[in-house]
């Protein structure tokens, strides 16, 4: 007998920001799936108009307390390319190191505190710590080392103050950076242990079929720069991004949703990065992925926890490599004179591709800004995945189904603060 039910989560926990979920079912038929973003709008793109281009990294950092370096990096990339400035290699490597710090902090937070409790049947990492204190302590230690990298290079872990258009305000000495070597070696061991730990969790078999989109660079696992490539064969300069992707405004959301121009869902983030670029991971990360049973591609959102763990290994090894090779730059920054025109910048935030575009005048005043965060890009893919997960699990009772739906959403590490400019979980049957 067909029974109608509605399953609702009116405030998603263990995600960043305010979102909710509604699923409506009629017997085994999924009638409606919705990830609603009720986080209030903050209008960054509006009040960036009239500001100096030099203020963009400090202002856009405030969009997100979890990934401020992503905002700072996409902003400086856009503005430096517009003004014809290429920063010297040691400056770029310091930016990559700062970004690795953010990946370590954000991935450790998500793997241990937000996501692992779903797999192990706990409400939080705090509860998990009662039964598995060593695991939670390992996660916190790892997270802390990520923060230590950000603090040394960026000045502080949340909203770093040291990033400027053209470089940094102050660059660290070799000796200062070397203080991070011993902690990062410990972090690498903890990250390898994290891969083993997450690989041993139980996963329902899932595959998502949508296009995968990530940055790519010939000889690096792309983080702080790259071309936009997709599993369907796109290969774009940042300036070509909007020719192929568009944002829609739908009623249920204070976030705009992205799709392929003319229709089509795509996914950015760890699964896309791994599938499109795993051969560029560090040796230790590649080996750890192999031991964890990951193949040349991973399209299983539940296994994103393993991929994030592999990326933790990469971020630690890459940080160690950068510190080993670091030569102090001649000056902390290159002077940048504003050039009237439009600049485009991209980078890989921990949860996916982050696109910025700025139009500025000859005085450096911002005339127009456009920011497309990863969660806006992933929202349609999340909803498609949610619809399919519900359709395959209609026999579950309301509580079990609600938990599975929430976990499905957390698989994507949505950052709703970013996306608002973004989600409510209800299941109706």
């Amino acid at each position: 007998m067909a029974k109608r039910r509605t399953i609702v989560t009116d405030y998603l926990a263990r995600v960043e920001g305010e979102g909710a979920m509604t699923v409506k079912l009629d017997g085994d038929t999924v009638e409606h799936v919705e990830l609603r973003i009720f986080e209030p709008p903050r209008f960054f793109e509006a009040f960036l108009r009239g500001r100096s281009f030099m203020e963009a990294p400090d202002i856009t950092a405030r969009i997100c307390g979890i990934c401020p370096v992503a905002y700072q990096t996409s902003a400086v990339n856009a503005l430096e390319s517009l003004c014809g400035v290429e920063v010297p290699e040691p400056i770029r490597m310091l930016r990559r190191l700062l970004y690795c710090g953010e990946w370590i902090e954000s991935h450790a937070l998500h793997v241990y505190m937000l996501h692992a409790p779903d797999f192990l049947g706990y409400e939080s990492a705090i509860e998990l710590a009662q039964v598995a204190p060593a695991a939670v302590e390992r996660g916190l230690a790892l997270k802390r080392i990520g923060n230590d990298v950000m603090t040394l290079v960026g000045g502080r872990e949340i909203h770093p103050i040291n990033v400027r258009v053209g470089g940094f305000y102050r660059t660290p000495s070799k000796r200062e950076l070397r203080t991070l070597v011993e902690p990062l070696e410990r972090a690498r061991e903890a990250a390898l242990e994290t891969v083993r730990w997450t690989a041993g969790m139980e996963f329902p078999e899932r595959t998502v079929e949508c296009d995968l989109v990530a940055l790519q660079w010939p000889d690096e696992y792309a983080i702080e720069r790259g071309r936009v490539v997709s599993s369907a064969g796109l290969d774009l300069a940042p300036a070509e991004y909007e020719e192929h992707f568009e944002e829609l405004h739908v009623e249920r959301s204070n976030a705009l949703q992205s799709q392929l121009r003319g229709g089509g869902t795509y996914l950015t983030g760890p699964l896309a990065r791994y599938t499109l670029g795993h051969d560029r991971l560090s040796a230790g990360a590649r080996e750890a992925a192999k031991e964890a049973g990951l193949g040349p591609e991973c399209r299983d959102p539940f296994r994103s926890i393993v991929v994030r763990s592999v990326e933790l290994v990469h971020a630690c090894e890459e940080s160690l490599r950068i510190i080993e090779d670091y030569e102090e730059p001649d000056a902390p920054f290159v002077p940048v004179e504003p050039v009237a025109g439009t600049g485009y910048g991209v980078s890989e935030a921990p949860r996916g591709l982050l696109y910025h575009r700025y139009r500025i005048d000859a005085d450096g005043t911002i005339l127009e800004a456009k920011i497309v965060p990863p969660t806006s890009q992933n929202q349609l893919a999340i909803e498609d995945d949610l619809r399919d997960v519900v359709a395959r699990n209609t026999k579950l009772d309301d509580e079990a189904l609600r938990r599975l739906c929430e976990q499905t959403i957390r698989n994507y590490d949505p950052c709703i603060s970013c996306a608002t400019h973004f989600l409510d979980l209800q299941i109706e049957r």
């Binding site: 209030p40 209008f43 400090d58 997100c64 705090i126 916190l140 000045g155 305000y169 204070n254």
Partner: protein, 266 residues
């Protein structure tokens, strides 16, 4: 600062803590999770009753201490804060958004319908207030912790002091004081770099001057900010009216002293 009038300890005999979010970037509540070395010790002493970023487990109020992040920007949030106040012993705001309205308070000086049109294709879907306002504009607040973001050590000090019922040691002097303590060279005197340190509340340990840049006011105005002297000095250093307005128009733009210094009337 008043201590909670009575301890509403839960069944485990521990005080209860709740963390609430309004319009914000999540960075200040993340500060609690960034206390990696202290977090498990804190959760041993305090029961976290409601903290959605960290846990799905929710215990109903009342709560001994509520930490509130973010500013009020929607009609629904203006009602929600009233209920949180009723459920809370001590209500502490954390960060510039909750304490002054945040950078999203720049809408207070602009046309919000225009802002909505710039960001959203279908402005009719958006429900928002004309203004972004601090929590204290809506309910009584027991302590306002400054910063964009807050300082984690100040957070631990404040929560500890609140739970034992003593006055927290949070300085209200300026960033200049911290520069002297840290032994920084004065970036304004030595390099002519514009700096809000003289009028900005301490708390960051003079971070920006230590990185060779001027303070840009994350902790908001200090107790008695002499902006009347600082603004002409900034202009003598070659800053235009627009530069000065921008300098005061960031994360604490809605605070009275910074609003005035930016040349905005009331």
């Amino acid at each position: 600062m008043p201590a909670p009038e009575r301890k509403m300890s839960d069944k485990n005999g521990k005080p209860t803590l709740a963390v609430w979010k309004f319009a914000s970037c999540d960075g200040c509540q993340l500060t609690l999770l960034d206390l990696e070395d202290e977090l498990l010790a804190i959760t041993g002493e305090v029961d976290i009753s409601d903290f959605r970023e960290a846990t799905s487990a929710v215990v109903d109020g009342p709560y001994d201490v509520s930490l509130v992040e973010g500013s009020i920007t929607t009609p629904h949030d203006a009602e929600r804060i009233q209920e949180i106040r009723r459920q809370s012993g001590a209500l502490i705001t954390i960060g510039a958004c909750a304490t002054s309205g945040g950078i999203q308070a720049l809408r207070n000086f602009a046309d919000v319908s225009e802002f909505t049109r710039i960001v959203y294709a279908s402005p009719e879907y958006i429900s928002t207030l004309e203004t972004s306002t601090p929590i204290a504009d809506h309910v009584q607040v027991d302590f306002e912790l400054r910063g964009c973001p807050i300082d984690k050590h100040q957070l631990v000090e404040l929560v500890t002091a609140t739970l034992v019922g003593r006055k927290p040691r949070i300085p209200t002097t300026s960033v200049c004081t911290e520069c002297k303590l840290r032994g920084n060279l004065c970036v304004m005197v030595a390099h002519g770099t514009p700096c809000l340190g003289p009028v900005t509340q301490a708390g960051c340990k003079a971070l920006c001057p230590a990185y060779n840049r001027g303070c840009f006011g994350c902790f908001g105005p200090m107790e008695s900010p002499n902006t009347a002297s600082l603004v002409p000095l900034l202009k003598r250093l070659g800053r235009s009216d627009t530069d000065v307005e921008r300098l005061f128009s960031t994360f604490n733009a809605n605070s009275e002293p910074f609003k005035e210094a930016a040349g905005r009337n009331g």
